[in-house]
């Protein structure tokens, strides 16, 4: 870790890495920065992601975006066209398959071949590296609205080069959020560095006049993540990105299920990210927010899945998130059909436009905002302290120490000591804080909330309570009451 720092990569460092990266797979050859810039500049405004986001933020609208990706280009274009036209999507995704995410391009190639042979997608996403720059441009060329790469790739450098040269104008991920929930044994230091490369590349496009939106991945493991934890990660990744020249950032949050906590979370996510960026001298970065509809286990029954989708949409509308990522009625079963995906979008559309005029202003909202802000500050400030001013260094040390700790994460670089559980109103609180550095009065607050519930349920708080909460929504509840 000796030389990790939050500072901007020098051009020398950058080009040295680039030379190596572009030879990792044959399609890397086709990346030509100047030609790519020209391609970006030829794009009409309606295909540029950050334009759509900035406009939505100004207008107070919430945009809707699905997840979707299949193995082959024509089928993928057809799928996205369908989601655009029949799903009424405002923004489109290109979800990357799991082999590509692990840089296993050979296995992705086999997946492509099998998909051709079996005439159905054998991959769970679009293998963009294998399809290369010109494959990607077929997507951009054939659609009328902005398209984003969504994935979960610890080392996304080659993918980013190809995606940007391929004309994508938004890119999800970050050195923490695409490591801890998505990898088992990749050191954080490595992914932070690799994502500094991605952010620097974004900065280079930005400086060449091609705006590219970056989205730290908000929901993390999607499973009982308390808002302040994902807020802390979002803020850290935003600062890291801004340092490399990123100018348009969407910070994300996965719905927890309690209306007040969720609205408070989206609103504080916006204000705290703005605040920290300003503090670091990046007041000019344009920040927007995204709410992810419930990211944990879904009910199998489609009628019940619609209920969960609709509730996420209502929360996105009432909190005025800039966009919402949409689930489908097939969520619990598998990668959705295009029809199921479009249905989820239309359910969302109906609620977003029905409720877009309303705002929530509850007594408890104010309290909850104060709480989330205090929690987030406690964590982020401790990270800075640990890094002796360098937020990259601080992040590594914070994960080592369990100061940053993400529930249910697969990574062995995550402490996994903090245990979350719901309180009696369904807000996510800490059942066991591990080493998360909340001040005593907040720790008391969390403990008291969990005890309230334990008392109500007439049982001790235990890991069984956490498990019950993991299953709860798929079984039709928010709080996992004893059976």
């Amino acid at each position: 870790m000796s030389d990790l720092t939050a500072k901007r990569l020098s051009m020398d460092e950058f080009t040295a890495i680039q030379a190596e990266i572009l030879t990792q797979w044959p399609t890397g050859r086709d990346v030509d920065f100047d030609e790519a810039v020209a391609y970006h500049q030829s794009l009409p405004a309606n295909k540029i992601f950050s334009r759509a986001l900035d406009k939505a933020k100004t207008d107070g609208n919430t945009l809707i975006q699905p997840r979707a990706g299949v193995a082959l280009i024509p089928q993928h274009v057809k799928l996205l066209t369908y989601l655009q036209d029949e799903g009424e999507a405002d923004l489109l995704p290109t979800t990357i398959d799991s082999y590509t995410r692990q840089n296993r391009y050979k296995e992705a190639e086999i997946g492509i071949e099998e998909s051709i042979r079996e005439n159905k997608s054998m991959l769970n996403g679009f293998p963009a590296v294998n399809h290369g720059v010109f494959g990607c441009r077929q997507i951009i060329d054939n659609l009328d609205i902005p398209v984003q790469i969504r994935h979960g790739t610890p080392d996304a450098r080659l993918l980013t080069e190809i995606a940007y040269a391929g004309g994508f104008t938004s890119y999800e991920g970050g050195g923490i959020s695409y490591n801890i929930p998505y990898a088992k044994s990749v050191p954080l230091e490595t992914t932070i560095r690799d994502w500094q490369y991605v952010d620097r590349l974004t900065g280079l496009y930005e400086e060449a006049g091609c705006p590219i939106n970056r989205e730290p991945y908000g929901p993390l493991t999607g499973t009982l993540v308390p808002p302040f934890i994902s807020h802390a990660v979002a803020i850290i990744e935003s600062i890291l990105a801004a340092e490399q020249g990123v100018r348009n950032i969407t910070v994300g949050y996965g719905q927890c299920g309690n209306l007040v906590q969720d609205v408070a979370a989206i609103q504080t996510l916006q204000s705290l990210t703005d605040e920290y960026l300003r503090r670091f001298g990046y007041g000019d970065v344009q920040v927007t927010t995204v709410l992810h509809q419930w990211m944990g286990g879904f009910p199998q029954d489609e009628a019940k899945a619609y209920a969960v989708i609709a509730w996420g949409s209502a929360v996105a509308a009432l909190s005025h998130a800039t966009k919402v990522i949409v689930k489908t009625p097939h969520e619990a079963m598998g990668v959705p059909t295009k029809e199921a995906n479009a249905a989820g979008l239309r359910t969302t559309r109906q609620l977003i436009s029905m409720l877009g005029e309303q705002t929530l202003n509850t007594y408890s909202l104010k309290d909850e905002k104060v709480i989330i802000a205090a929690e987030t500050r406690a964590v982020v400030d401790r990270v800075l302290e640990l890094g002796e001013g360098d937020i990259a260094v601080g992040t590594i040390r914070a994960f080592d120490a369990g100061v940053l700790d993400i529930p249910f994460a697969p990574s062995r670089f995550n402490a996994g000591k903090m245990l979350p559980a719901r309180d009696n109103d369904g807000c996510i609180r800490l059942f066991h804080p591990g080493n998360v550095p909340l001040p005593p009065e907040l720790l008391d607050f969390h403990q008291q909330k969990i005890e309230e519930r334990a008392h109500y349920e007439n049982r001790k708080a235990s890991f069984q309570m956490v498990i019950d909460d993991v299953y709860a929504i798929s079984k039709g509840r928010l709080v996992g009451r004893p059976r």
Partner: protein, 157 residues
């Protein structure tokens, strides 16, 4: 009677970490010894762990959709390693998309899995079949064949 030993894990490039952690907990509570290999486990790691722990069953979990590609040839490899008699289950969201489960089950049984579990099968069901297949049900239970009702759709057979 000795405790039965299970090797569990999530195969391939799959990082879904929640279900396997809960299975570990549930199997322990049900009286099994469990080696949980966690996520991103290769076929070789499953087999090595089973040999090392002299396991009674290997339970392969796959959520992310590439399960069908990831488990190919696993039974043969296990047999070669001398695990001809080991019980092998597979479960989770083992194929891409919502497919008729009866067909999926057939394909995986053909690949040598003893039982195949549909998406969202609750641990009680897994435990029931483990006990049944490992001879841990007493006579009465077996006769009544009181398979717990799958609460959450799915369920095997």
């Amino acid at each position: 009677m000795d405790k039965k030993h299970l090797v569990i894990g999530v195969i391939g490039a799959d990082v879904h970490a929640v279900g396997i952690r809960i299975l570990e907990f549930a199997f322990r509570e049900a009286g099994f010894e469990v080696t949980n290999l966690g996520v991103m486990v290769s076929q070789e790691e499953f087999i090595a762990a089973a040999i090392e722990t002299d396991a009674d069953a290997i339970l392969v979990s796959s959520l992310y959709g590439h399960g069908e590609l990831d488990v190919r040839g696993m039974r043969e490899k296990a047999d070669e390693a001398g695990l001809e008699d080991i019980l092998m289950y597979v479960g989770g969201n083992i194929v891409v998309g919502k497919q008729p489960f009866a067909e999926v089950e057939k394909r995986f049984k053909k690949m040598g899995f003893d039982r195949v579990f549909a998406p969202g099968t609750p641990p009680e069901t897994d435990i029931y079949y483990l006990k049944k297949d490992l001879g841990l049900l007493d006579q009465a239970e077996t006769e009544a064949d009181q398979q717990p009702k799958a609460e959450n759709g799915g369920g095997e057979e």
